[in-house]
């Protein structure tokens, strides 16, 4: 099977390509970029004239909800949504039921994703058994089963001592710890950023210090133990500063933020809109600007969707009783490209933040179009404006604060392992 994508504007940050170039794919792999191989006869040719051609996107954090929460979504439904969004690799979280703390759970998810065939799915395993924060999971076994990292997500650790040991043990297995920095006692069942909005609405707040204190504490541990750690979903300006300093000091730290945190602030919550309920919460304009600076200067090396599909009922309650999180796979790319329009990022840096850099954090080979690499790519129409609504979303979760908003780009083709798996003719 030979596939060519011609006449497109190809952006591949890893290879510093940002120009018109044709892409040639054979047997699932990239075999040439720019120059047509000798004796080339394509079986299929896609004309990407006045479109972008990108490496398939790499998403650091998607809850696929299976097993255990099939009423919210399934591996099949969400990987299909990923394909429509140009995402070809996904890391999913251990917060299923049962929790991903044994090789059998990892294998189950891998089987489900293989039979769906829409996206490469990588599994982040549980740091502790049943995410109880107390007993270490069998990390060597999880790694052998294919886990790319371990995390306790937002489940609290019983003590700082257990956290230290878990980090050290993960390091012994050469596993990255995906840390969600939060001092749970300070968060104290809060549901919004603690500030004037929480005060006005009378909603319990989560102070910025609930995050920054955890970041500071863990940086101290990382400095002493030299354990590779990725901070997930940084939401405050102050954390960005601390992480920047730690990276300057050559500590093995990476960090990301979510695409919604680069746009939304606690101001959006006027009117108690449960769709704005997020963890970590959307914070102040200063925090948002701090995060934008963080992606500009490289302190934050990935933007993620932080995809959390929910059933409709999960958001049909007074604000505090709604479940946090948004369904965001399908807005990751349009909103990231919007940052280019707003002159926050160059096109190449924007693409890097959702392809090669998250792939590096996961330690997977993806996110580029090197000759010989797995041919995962997507084609994007930058001139197609559309309104996001619950009918045109493929994710089973329609929970996003962006419903009704205009998006200014759209994926037209997604190629996985050299095969066209998604096409949108944009009629």
């Amino acid at each position: 099977m030979k596939l060519e994508i011609i006449n497109g504007h190809l952006v591949d940050p890893k290879n510093q390509i940002d120009q018109h170039a044709n892409l040639y794919i054979a047997d699932g792999r990239v075999i040439a970029v720019g120059k047509k191989p000798a004796d080339w006869q394509a079986d299929q040719s896609i004309d990407a004239k006045s479109k972008l051609v990108l490496p398939g996107l790499v998403e650091l954090s998607a809850s696929l909800r299976e097993p255990g929460h099939e009423h919210k979504a399934t591996v099949q439904s969400e990987t299909k949504a990923a394909a429509a969004a140009g995402i070809t690799s996904i890391a999913c979280l251990p917060t299923t039921n049962p929790v991903v703390d044994t090789p059998a759970q990892v294998e189950l998810i891998e089987q489900l994703s293989q039979s769906s065939g829409q996206c490469h799915v990588y599994v982040i395993g549980a740091l502790t058994t049943n995410l109880n924060g107390e007993n270490l999971s069998e990390m060597a076994a999880l790694k052998a089963a294919g886990c790319v990292g371990v995390s306790n997500v937002f489940h609290p650790m019983k003590s700082s001592l257990v956290l230290r040991r878990a980090m050290e043990y993960a390091s012994s297995q050469d596993l990255t710890v995906f840390s969600y920095p939060l001092v749970h006692a300070l968060a104290n069942h809060g549901c919004v950023h603690e500030g004037i909005t929480s005060s006005r609405l009378g909603l319990p707040g989560i102070p910025a210090a609930a995050e920054t204190a955890a970041v500071a504490f863990q940086i101290a541990l990382i400095e002493e133990l030299n354990v590779r750690t990725h901070f997930c979903r940084i939401s405050t300006d102050r954390s960005v500063h601390m992480i920047s300093r730690a990276r300057f000091d050559k500590l093995p730290i990476t960090a990301d933020t979510s695409i919604l945190h680069l746009y939304l602030t606690d101001q959006e919550i006027q009117g108690f809109d449960g769709l704005c309920h997020n963890q970590p919460p959307f914070r102040t304009l200063d925090d948002r600007e701090g995060l934008r600076t963080g992606i500009q200067d490289g302190t934050l090396s990935a933007i993620c969707a932080d995809h959390q599909p929910h059933e409709i009922e999960a958001k049909l309650a007074p604000f505090q009783s709604t479940e946090p999180g948004s369904s965001t796979l399908e807005t990751l790319l349009p909103l990231t490209l919007e940052l280019v329009k707003e002159d926050v990022l160059t096109l190449s840096d924007a693409v890097n933040l959702i392809t090669q850099q998250p792939a590096d954090i996961l330690g997977i080979s993806a996110g580029n179009l090197c000759v010989g690499a797995n041919a995962d790519a997507c084609i994007v129409d930058l001139k197609h404006s559309w309104i996001l609504n619950s009918e045109n979303m493929l994710s089973r979760g329609k929970n996003t604060p962006l419903l009704g908003d205009q998006l200014n780009s759209r994926v037209t083709h997604t190629i996985l392992n050299g095969k066209l798996i998604y096409e949108n003719k944009l009629n």
Binding site: E194, G195, I196, S198, S199, R200, L201, G202, L203, P204, G205, P207, G271, F272, E313, L316, A317, P318, F319, Q320, S321
Partner: protein, 312 residues
Amino acid sequence: MRHFLQIDGLSTKDLHHILDTTESFTSIDDRAVKKVPLLRGKTIVNLFFEPSTRTRTTFELAAKRLSADVLNINIATSATTKGESLLDTLFNLQAMNSDMFIVRHPESGAAEFISNYVDSHVSVINAGDGRHAHPTQAMLDMFTIRKHYKEFSKLRVAIVGDILHSRVARSQIEALNILGAKEIRVIAPRTLLPANVAQLGVEVFQNCKEGLFNVDVVIMLRLQKERMQGGFIPSEHEYFQLYGLTPERLAIAKPNAIVMHPGPINRGVEISSEVADGPQSVILQQVKYGIAVRMAILSLAMSSADENGGGN
């Protein structure tokens, strides 16, 4: 004004209209037959997800004096423990052709949430949602103040105590700002103040000596017993020492300053009996006016709802 959910967003004119309407209802209270036929044939549901005596009773009396049929539903243990969602509870009651829901709920935003899902001819009145708002209480407080002082623009008002957890304080602050009070002060230790509280339009004081100086109105807030467990204050004793309203402390305020409290009061915790029962206390007047204010709000809301839904 089909729904009455919060003070925020209303105009000075709106608030004075409610207060003027209240005035016309106060006389009914003194008649031998305390009833007018304004809401005859209407069904009003008191939907209380949190225990309450005073607020529920005054709403019930207000509705009955307007000749409405009143249904009291107490779901203090929360319907969710029985597996029924808030919306399902609501839709069931709505199916019984209710015209108005008076809602108290422990979560902020609950009344507004419900208002988004009722039929177009149905009104929702917020009788207290979490820490967010208690707008009818704030209106009866404004009415009580207006009974004693002609102009809000000359008034200094101090609110003392647990501002953090108080929906009453939030609504009072909004109402006083809209009505143009000269100065609104909050007096509390920092543990009982919400973040960025000054941005709500108040002056912040940590002690009574400065905070009560020269004020015309002193509003005391109830201190819940569980605040001692949460590390907000060390003891009732120390709280009373620092913030309890005693005759000596009240003397810091203007000589004829009025003392208010949304009730129920904790004698010896936030207020001494001498002050609570003293000549400057208007606490029982507040309760009395509570009925007239609620009659005004129920009738104003119902007439808007009738215009809105064609009223049958």
